[in-house]
């Protein structure tokens, strides 16, 4: 497979591998498009958004305070009918504060995406954040998503896959989102104590175990059984979060007392270890499993290149993964060096997040407030931090290019154009946005537009700009 021209490769580097061109970015990539991307890979991981810097432990304790306030407020309300109490006001303030924190986390992440010069690095981090989905559809998890990405995902995206898997599987955000924190071995000491207290809520929860197998590692077609899921769930019992009075409040703790005693068998392998080591050993084997390499490399190829990527590409990534023991920096470099990834025909349809942020990048700006960003993402079906399930956001064009979504993109583009277009030269902007990917049809439509606003809206609604 021969590679396209340098000009075309520069446009592809910035739009397909990155987050859309900022002014001058395609020019900057022109001398060495692959080198431009490879230089963005670094061992220390992805950039951190400039947010509050609050840790998951901070957030966990804030959420606990909030829950206590809510409880007090309810108790008072029960006593006094519908009368507003002083506590009700505190409760409302706390609720607003928490919601604003989640919004601020999301805005900081979006601003990083609009401002970064290393957009491939950011895309790579976003891919892994979506692979290990946690969602604000759960209240407790919502405040932990920003810290999760900062603590578990971003530092590990160019390291070994096992580190990333363990960081994700032990983070409070994942432990709450997939109900692991409360899971208790039925024959553990904790279960015995709960039974003596006649507390019915003590037992196994298999949610995290199942989704690690199905989504994070070997994949649903790996041939595991319900028994494997249950055994893995037993191995993971004890993975939990420290309570207020304990040593590590709001952080990962292993509760020996909640751990199911005895050895386990998962995917045909025996695990005779005890305690924390047992779950970690299963995770280690899953990370090294060739089925994990195949499943995850297929996802990488689908995310960056095509909804139906060539088998040669997936296999090359898979080989590199197995040769390097899941070294994600090496896999990223192999992706960049694969000729299949440079096909000039753009086939990936930008997700709402990618689409809206690439529009901000085009004008060299960033969203000024969460209110500028959240409504359009929600309207297009990608509500901030709220993927509908542990599978994360869909990747395919069919999901996002629904008739209704195109109408909403158009309406948003019109509004965006009205706010910014009068300051820009549409023809120059088209060249900046798409470089050698600009087609005569789009260039003509833009140059013939009646107004700058119309030209801007046409450009960002063009098939070329909406794809990458």
């Amino acid at each position: 497979m021969s590679l396209p021209s340098k000009d075309m490769m520069a446009a592809i580097a910035v739009t397909r591998f990155g987050l859309g061109a900022r002014p001058g970015e395609i020019e900057a990539a022109r001398a060495d498009p692959k080198g431009f991307l490879i230089a963005q890979i670094r061992r220390e991981g992805a950039d951190l958004p400039r947010d509050s810097g609050e840790t998951s432990a901070d957030r966990f304790s804030q959420m606990r305070d909030f829950q206590r306030q809510r409880k007090m407020e309810r108790e008072q309300k029960d006593g006094q009918g519908d009368k507003t109490t002083a506590n009700a006001q505190t409760f409302k303030d706390a609720q607003r504060d928490l919601r604003e924190k989640v919004g601020a986390d999301f805005l900081a992440r979006a601003r990083l995406a609009t401002n970064t010069d290393a957009a491939f690095r950011e895309r790579w981090a976003l891919f892994w954040a979506n692979h290990f989905t946690v969602s604000a559809t759960k209240q407790l998890t919502s405040v932990l998503i920003g810290p999760f990405e900062r603590e578990a995902i971003r530092p590990n995206v160019f390291g070994g896959f096992e580190n990333l898997l363990v960081a994700s599987s032990t983070h409070p955000a994942m432990l709450t989102y997939l109900d692991q924190a409360q899971s208790i071995g039925p024959n553990s000491r904790a279960a015995g104590a709960a039974a003596r207290r006649r507390n019915g809520k003590a037992g196994l929860n298999e949610n995290l175990a199942r989704e690690i197998l199905e989504l994070h590692t070997v994949g649903v077609d790996a041939g595991y059984s319900q028994a494997d899921v249950t055994e893995f769930a037993r191995a993971l019992t004890g993975f939990s979060i420290g309570r207020d009075a304990e040593d590590r409040p709001g952080q990962f703790v292993f509760r020996e007392a909640a751990h199911e005693p005895g050895g386990r068998t998962v995917l045909g392998r025996q695990y005779g270890q005890t305690g924390l080591k047992q779950g970690l050993s299963v995770l280690s084997d899953l990370a090294a499993d060739p089925r994990t390499a195949r499943h995850v490399c297929g996802k990488i190829a689908r995310h960056f290149v095509s909804d139906m990527p060539p088998a040669s590409l997936t296999q090359r990534l898979e080989r590199r993964w197995m040769e390097t023991g899941g070294d994600l920096a090496k896999v990223a470099q192999t992706l960049i060096e694969s000729p299949e990834a440079w096909d000039p025909t753009p086939v990936k349809f930008k997700t709402p997040y990618e689409y809206t942020l690439s529009t901000w990048r085009l004008i060299g700006a960033e969203p000024s407030a969460i209110e500028r960003l959240a409504p359009i993402l929600t309207g297009l079906g990608q509500k901030p931090f709220s993927p509908p399930s542990p599978k994360g956001w869909p990747e395919d064009a069919q999901s996002w290019a629904a008739p209704d979504a195109l109408i909403k993109r158009m309406q948003w583009a019109q509004g965006f154009a009205a706010a910014v277009a009068d300051r820009a030269d549409p023809n120059a902007l088209s060249a900046e946005a798409l470089g050698a990917r600009l087609t005569p049809a789009v260039a003509k439509a833009v140059s013939r537009a009646e107004t700058r606003r119309e030209a801007f809206a046409l450009l960002v609604m063009s098939p070329e700009f909406q794809r990458r």
């Binding site: 559809t137 997939l178 199905e214 079906g381 399930s389 158009m410």
Partner: protein, 424 residues
Amino acid sequence: MNAHLNRRSLLGLGASLGIGVTFLGTQAFAASEGDLAKKKLVVVICRGGMDGLSVSPPVGDPNYAALRGSIAMKPEDVLNLDATFGLHPELSTVHALALKGEARIAPAIASPDRARSHFEAQDVLETGASGVYGADTGWLNRTLEALAPVREIEGLSVGATAPLILRGKVQAASWSPGKGVDESARLPTLLQDLYKSDPLLGPAFASGLETETMAQQAMTAMAPSPAMNMAAASTPPTAGPGGTSSSMANDRRNRQGGEAARKLGSTLGGFMIQPSGPQIAAISLDGFDTHAGQSGQIATRLSYLDVVLDGLHAGLGTEWKNTVVIVVTEFGRTARVNGTGGTDHGTASTGLILGGALKPGGIVGDWPGLAEKALFENRDTAPTLDMRALFKGALAEHMGVDRALLETKVFPGSETAKPLTGLV
């Protein structure tokens, strides 16, 4: 190009460019097909694995209370259906319809998939295949295809993203609440031109414009509702900080989320009663994956479902008599409560069948009971009814889909799931 094209001339332009303009021309077919041209089918997909034993608690089953432990409902707390079953107290609309013979339950229905994976099971539900990866188009889309030679009818999905059940060769419309299109702008016309050789964006955009026109008609036909927040309507209320919780159950329906849900249902109904409106529609509700703290969560979700159905019933008006609504989920949940006040992924669940077109009757399919020996793999409600049998019955008897095509085109490989008869 004329800067002041109006809607009709825009559509005309679309047609002259060979762009798929939907909804036109359905009337011509309608006249010759008589009653069938009025029949409507709505499929509601509850995603996440809806707990059937909460939808229709079998409070009369001797094993129910013990299996469910802390989350069991008491007989006096459910809306009574018969000696075995009640409905969840939040399903008051469904219950009122059931009392009139316009709603029935299928308490042990399942797809042919047994993997207990959300995504696999949803794929199987939506493709109508006998196993995962058996097809890459949705069975509602193949229904449109199968009907096309005799009746060209439209399909519509509600929501910002396109669900698999309606994906396929026929361009289906999609709609979600939002602001209207400025009809005087040139942009829609210019974009149609720019998309004319784009196989994905061209048809989708034309369909979107058509639906917007219809939405404006559907909305103006109804009373205005200023308090509502349309942007929030397509997703059920979820627990962001300060989201819903069980203590707020009493006023769930009257809060903003409930109003938006009602509007969502009634607007869908408004679409479907228009002369050339869609006869087949799909709508998805999320958030049924209740692994922990199930009682409060499921009450919120079922309330939302009930209000959407209430809105749909109202929006359809007298056309309710021509409608069948099917509510299904990808799988049910474990019969036993788990260690965290919730339930894990299971097998059979409850399906709801509603509509004025329905024949009154008892439960649909058999009830296997909850005795230990009766449970599937000693954990889940055992499936007694393949949901394809229900779908096929509704398509054959209600929508008039040719039976041979039903087997070969819409549900290939479903010989074991004989179409249910006597539904309508």
